[in-house]
Symmetry: C2
Subunit: 534 residues, 2 copies
């Protein structure tokens, strides 16, 4: 795309057409400046097919805020909207509305609360809460979801990979398989969720990380094409990068050529006083080959060199490789624990695309409207109670049990303070006849998760660094039960409603549902509602 | 991301670190300006899990060319590279190399041949061929793959959806679930592959298409929250867009509320001389509901209004819906053909993420090196012959049979001209003992697919418009056998080597493989090569 076009495509027109046609309708109705509140949340954890996440890692907020700050209707944007024609040739957008957009069409009046990046988040909990004029809060929808859905999806996948590879080095390598420049958002989210580094140079620069990577098969191949050998290629590499010599050993044959050649070069480096870095394996049975590589490197006197694995890795494949190493290494005279400790992982395609579930189901729903000097909660009635969002202006409280583990997220109305009560009633969010009671004295803490970020467009939140975001992630994950953290079939984390919120939800369902909530509250679903194959 | 950072992240540093460390090694070796040729191709069709594509639609070239034209090492980029430190604190990149990058680090000397966008393409066929200095051709790799992999992936998915919905209106709705700004590349690719329009406003502007979309559930909800009704919402919409009135009817209850209210509004519009557009269904059993909707609209005298379906659609779900309509509509007194003809489809998440297979396996392999005044073909030996790329400088010829259907792609050396021979020998690309012979007299045509695009960085190719690209797509698809076009279990399209190319490949395998090609040419694979779970 040309640079000038990019400004158009990435600016305020980075939205769906219906946001603009709805905004004009609100303008015609004279309600475009009515304050409203939209909640952003996601409906379910990513399900990778046979395995499902037990928690998500929130990410994307800072880049959304950057976009909101810069996005505005430029003259070119207005001209383009002016040129749009409906089916009879009439302008889609009228001049008065375009004038309003030109003068008022920015996010400078939006207020925003959000759960911070890096925090553990769960379905049906408001992660981002937008208050602003109906027209601009509506126009924001598409871009907000785009910014937050993808980074949260990838931070979540990265967290799962991080859980699997524990403290070992984990690098993001996926640029070439990402959705165009989405590679940059993916790399950032991977760094937030669990990757130590990325191979993506530009985004590393922007975020202040050293990019990682050494060489590809093509380097060895260049030497072969010139009538030279793999050993020549490795020697040249070692000459240029004597203290960062990590060699890809599978271009010809890993065990018969690559590793022996690497060892030769490592010996030469050692003689010159350099410490060789290690090797990378990018094909074959990575568990078996890394055991053999460790054996050969150990025997040659290089027990500290690292063994980096790459090639279509994800959390399950990694888990299997690590398990196989633990089971089999001893048989070959290799200490499995030492081998696992010297391992590093490069994860590409399956991380950057969240293979298995390539989209997060984040949505954006109207929850209250300002009228007659107060907020009126509102509700979108869905086919089932599970899909019916929770109305009103809310705060999310994370409840920590006596062991200081997060035990539930409690959604309250924003004027409720659970600190003030002796007992907390937790209502099931979609079966509001069910509740349980927690005594305050048995709880270690109650933490409000939504923090104020934008007040009338002004940033009043100190944006954390990536490192601070990661620390938050580590802290949050460490306070999850092991069952929630499990890779396969994780235990379900509880998200509950306060009594007042449950009552409000019931009442609004009765008021807004055409059957007075008969069906939805009593589990009778409309006939043939489910979609074939959907 | 901040705008200034975006320039950094999207510019020439939009590459992987190892491309730069290899480039410096080539510089040290004095071979950085050696002309080389890399082939870009993909190894297999997308496999969505249970169903696999039988062809791909090529896309992404124009945006790659735009990126190449603009990308260069700015002073800031050089400063950043200068600041990179290795593990001992020494600079990763030396001043002389940085000076070379600053002065020569652009794609102005790259020559490029490619298969045009919109063309049907197959695995293991060179789609893009890059000739240039070793250093810059290497640095280009990551971004080239990023640009071409994703757009081809999405154009292919869109083509499958287009096959399913035949001539009906098909719109791309996926921005909110894309990888950040990758949404724009995805929308372009969808338009190339088969979508008529996209809801993405900015990219529609850039590409000269009207964006599509009417309203969301939230519009109806705003009216409900204000104590008004769905009918009020529809009336207001009709007032603002009397000639483009397409109403989303499932906010409350499709059959009992949405469609009756839409009909009321359509009647009012009709009285005022307007032609109502139609309705959209976004939940429930879309096949059943569209039959009922058609029945109600027919009975009310609106047989020409359209019925747009959306909600987690992909080619298989669409196929099932259309089949169900064909099977069941008559039972309800609805003509299935008429109903299918009035249907339109909005496809979001599953198109923009290519759900089921979220990445294309495009790769970039060195195939020849300039030495002693001529091109020396080279080869990367892989574990199997299937994965071993075809060496040398090649042309791809598409062979059309007597019915003018594409019957095979034949890879030849670039100095071969299949027009000059009476018989064409087609060798199997990975079992070169197998071949077949086609007589020229039985063929309708032979078409070279690779066209010259860049000569020493200069564009010498007329970039087609999106409409021309689509016409090319239609023409190519129409010349595929029905078996190749099938959604499920498609027939395999033949990609073959010319005799000379097959001989060259055999010879190079013997020369470069450490066992003289013993294993690879005779199908003996190395022990335990396949990866667990991979």
């Amino acid at each position: 795309m040309k640079a000038s076009d990019q400004k158009t495509a990435d600016g305020i027109l980075f939205t769906d057409q219906y946001e603009l046609t709805m905004a004009q309708l609100y303008y015609r109705q004279g309600i475009h400046e009515t304050p409203v509140q939209f909640d952003h949340f996601f409906r379910s954890y990513p399900d990778y097919g046979g395995h499902k996440a037990g928690y998500c890692i929130n990410a994307g907020l800072e880049w959304l805020l950057d976009w909101m700050r810069d996005a505005h209707f430029r003259d070119e944007d207005i001209s383009y909207l002016r040129s749009q024609r409906g089916s009879t040739g009439r302008s889609v957008f009228d001049e008065d509305f375009l004038r309003w957009l030109k003068n008022n069409g920015s996010f400078e009046t939006i207020s925003l609360h959000a759960i911070s990046e890096g925090r553990v988040v769960h379905p049906n909990v408001p992660v981002t809460v937008v208050r602003g004029s109906l027209a601009m809060a509506q126009i924001l929808e598409s871009s907000l979801l785009n910014h937050l859905n993808y980074q949260t999806l990838i931070a979540t996948k990265a967290a799962r990979i991080r859980e699997t590879c524990e403290g070992q080095l984990f690098m993001e390598f996926g640029m070439r398989r990402a959705q165009g420049k989405g590679a940059n958002a993916g790399a950032r989210a991977a760094l937030i969720g669990g990757a130590d580094f990325t191979s993506n140079v530009g985004i590393s620069h922007v975020l202040g990380f050293p990019p990682k990577g050494t060489h590809a098969h093509s380097m060895v191949q260049v030497f072969l094409a010139r009538g030279m050998s793999e050993l020549d290629a490795f020697r040249s590499y070692a000459e240029v990068y004597p203290d960062d010599c990590l060699l890809l050993v599978d271009t010809i044959n890993t065990l018969e050529s690559g590793i022996p050649h690497a060892i030769t070069v490592f010996e030469e480096l050692k003689k010159k006083g350099h410490k060789p870095k290690g090797i990378r394996l990018d094909s074959g049975d990575l568990a078996y080959l890394s055991i053999q590589a460790a054996k050969m490197l150990d025997e040659a006197g290089f027990p500290d060199t690292s063994i980096t694995l790459s090639n279509e890795l994800d959390e399950l494949t990694l888990w299997q490789i690590i398990t196989q190493i633990a089971d089999e290494a001893t048989r070959y005279g290799v200490d499995p624990e030492k081998l696992i400790k010297r391992s590093a992982y490069g994860v590409g395609t399956k991380l950057i695309t969240s293979a298995g579930d390539s989209a997060l189901s984040g949505i954006y729903k109207l929850v209250s409207v300002w009228a007659d000097g107060k907020w009126l909660p509102t509700i979108k009635i869905s086919q089932t109670l599970e899909k019916t969002p929770t109305p009103g202006n809310k705060q999310v409280w994370r409840i920590y049990d006596e062991r200081n583990n997060a035990t539930a997220d409690l959604l309250c109305l924003d004027d409720e303070n659970p600190h003030e009560v002796e007992e907390l009633s937790l209502f099931h969010p979609s079966d509001m006849t069910r509740s349980r009671v927690l005594k305050r004295e048995n709880l270690k803490g109650l933490e409000p998760l939504l923090v104020e970020v934008l007040r009338d467009g002004k940033l009043i939140y100190e944006l954390p660094s990536i490192q601070q975001i990661r620390d938050q992630r580590d802290q949050d994950i460490s306070r999850l039960e092991a069952g929630i953290r499990r890779l396969l079939n994780p235990h379900i984390y509880h998200v509950s409603l306060s009594r007042r919120l449950a009552e409000l939800k019931r009442e609004l369902i009765k008021r807004f549902d055409q059957n007075g909530g008969q069906n939805i509250l009593h589990g009778k679903s409309e006939r043939r509602k489910s979609q074939p194959g959907g």
